[in-house]
């Protein structure tokens, strides 16, 4: 592994992804760029349809063959351009160097294979080991995520949701991946289980020293888990910074709106402030800033054509907003 400090461990540059449906083009990802360091945890936050999962799938290159295309962009992992790799080379990376934890454990496991076999499969694929060794490793992984190895031969339907997610995690970590993509790993789970699973992921990520992209719309999860946070809206990153920057000094109106939409435990006198309007139609994005139709700070400049310029503060806090200076001032 190259320890080249100059280049980041993972970098995504100007990623554009489109879906096609019935002659319509859905612009799911519109120029996302970010970088992350080895061992760090990046939170990718946004509403449903903001393109978060698409980014993750683009990194793994597991977008559906049909009706979907990466228009442009570059993804480098450890200096390697993933998008230019041959399919076979990419396959070697999937599940091995990069692994993914899916949103819904109920459907993420193959119902007709035993959980053990599903873990065994990924171990066998990426390691030059005998079947016995692979099985031992799979059992070990089950134990690691807190499932007795006696349940190796059981099928997914015999597990509860939380247990299934543990299996998914075990599968993802079985080959000791360098980068873990966790796509809303707790959303589908009972609230009581969410914390356990999240703790497990975090512990294991630390233990294996993996980098992780945590996709979520839950700011609470971000607060407890992430080092850096990228806020996405309509296929773009609109704000990027470390946890402190985002949580204590949000600069984009959308980010501020997001915090407004989270019920505060201590502010009992305030109403929840939902963000007005609906997310934009991805087949027909607004001109200029995508958030402009919903933005309380909107000015004419926001609606003019062209990309919103990127503004970086000295400590690396990035924000895409014409009016970031005005934002949040009157609220204080």
């Amino acid at each position: 592994m190259s320890e080249n400090m100059n280049s980041p461990y993972l970098s995504v540059k100007d990623l554009f992804v489109e879906y096609y449906s019935n002659d319509q083009t859905v612009k799911a990802v519109n120029g996302i760029s970010f970088e992350m360091e080895k061992g760090s945890v990046l939170g990718l936050v946004g509403e449903t349809g903001a393109g978060k999962t698409t980014v993750a799938k683009s990194i793994l290159r597991i977008l559906p063959d049909f009706g979907c295309q990466i228009k442009s962009g570059e993804i480098y992992l450890d200096g390697q351009d993933l998008l230019s790799l041959k399919e076979e080379e990419m396959r070697q990376i999937r599940g091995n160097k990069i692994a993914m934890i899916f949103q819904d454990p109920m459907t993420a496991l193959n119902p007709v294979m035993t959980v053990g076999d599903q873990i065994f499969e990924v171990v066998k694929l990426h390691n030059d080991m005998t079947d016995e060794q692979c099985k031992a490793r799979a059992e070990e992984m089950l134990e690691t995520v807190g499932i007795p190895k006696e349940r190796y031969e059981e099928y997914p339907h015999q597990f509860s949701g939380g247990m299934k997610q543990r299996v998914v995690i075990a599968m993802a970590l079985a080959c000791d991946p360098d980068l873990l993509l966790a796509d809303e790993p707790t959303t589908a789970l009972d609230v009581t289980i969410q914390a356990q699973v999240l703790d497990l992921i975090r512990d294991l990520q630390k233990k294996f020293n993996s980098s992780m992209i945590l996709i979520t719309h839950d700011m609470g999860v971000v607060a407890t888990t992430c080092d850096n946070v990228a806020i996405t809206y309509a296929g773009r990153i609109i704000e990027y910074g470390n946890k402190e920057q985002i949580f204590h000094h949000p600069t984009h109106p959308y980010t501020i709106g997001l915090f407004g939409a989270i019920p505060s435990m201590n502010g009992d006198d305030e109403w929840l402030h939902p963000i007005e309007g609906l997310p934009p139609d991805p087949t027909n994005l607004p001109v200029g800033c995508s958030f402009s139709p919903r933005c309380p700070y909107v000015t004419d400049v926001c609606r003019q054509e062209g990309d919103v310029p990127k503004r970086i503060t000295a400590d690396g806090h990035i924000c895409f907003c014409y009016n970031m200076d005005k934002v949040g001032k009157e609220e204080q």
Binding site: I62, R94, N110, V112, M113
Partner: protein, 326 residues
Amino acid sequence: MGRYILKRILWMIPIILGVTVLVFTMMTICPGDPATIILGSLATEESLAAKRVELGLDQPYLTRLVKYLSDVYLHFNLGSSWISKISIVSELKVRLPRTLVLSLFTTALSFGLGIPFGISAAKNQGKWQDSLCMVIAMIGSSMPNFWLAMMLVLLFAVKLKWLPALGIGAGLAGLKYYILPAFSNFATGMASAARQTRSSMLDVIRSDYITTARAKGVPEKSVINKHALKNALIPIVTLMGTAFGNMLGGALIIETIFSIPGMGTYVIGAVGNRDYPVVQAGTIFLAIVFSIFMLLVDIVYAMIDPRIKALYTAGSKKKVKKEAKA
């Protein structure tokens, strides 16, 4: 599982009884007088009446039904044909296997070709290959099987002389006699297999666990063959039961064209001759074969899908609704 199978086999008894009563009743309603058919239309009224007494046709419907049921189910006596006097059991022994071989061959052929067609269509959804595969599959099923049969005979037997046109042969080499009949009758099954495969593959390919498998780095071939196919097979297996029934039915007509002395020529001829015992016994056995095949389908179903197996093993009262076709 064993208990479940036993239960299903026991459940077959009332069904088969029902089939017996149904067919018996339908044959009774059928116009046409068996005595006239046996003796010819020149027979005198007295000899016809005597024949009817001999056949028991002078008895009221219920009496005859009860007698037939007790003959068949209490004394295991299917009787003999009214026309040929040949014992029905001895005929069934040689004829049923022929129809079975033909139907199984046909079913295997239609699924053996239909599934790859469906997979290929699903993998290329929306592209020209998709349309091509589906249209090919459908064109086959759009042709009446007897017509296809005559065309195939003309081409492969008469013109190319590759295969025998008619009849049956003995032993393993005799299988070649079933090739044209099977190919004449497989198209409908193949179309529905392809259609079902395509739609359930599309369903499955979009499932999260397929994405999971891809994300694990499973090669595309294994994704399809190992992960997707096995799941997609579940509704296909269900379809296989119905398809086998259709093949069994189709075989009835195909046998006539190919002069195969199987159940089709036997039962259809008997319907025409109002040879009640043969129609009834033939139907009962076809229904038994069909039911057993459906049971096998259910067992295979359980073997593929552990969720169903769990249900069976638990001895759950409600059977999972397999009728719900996609």
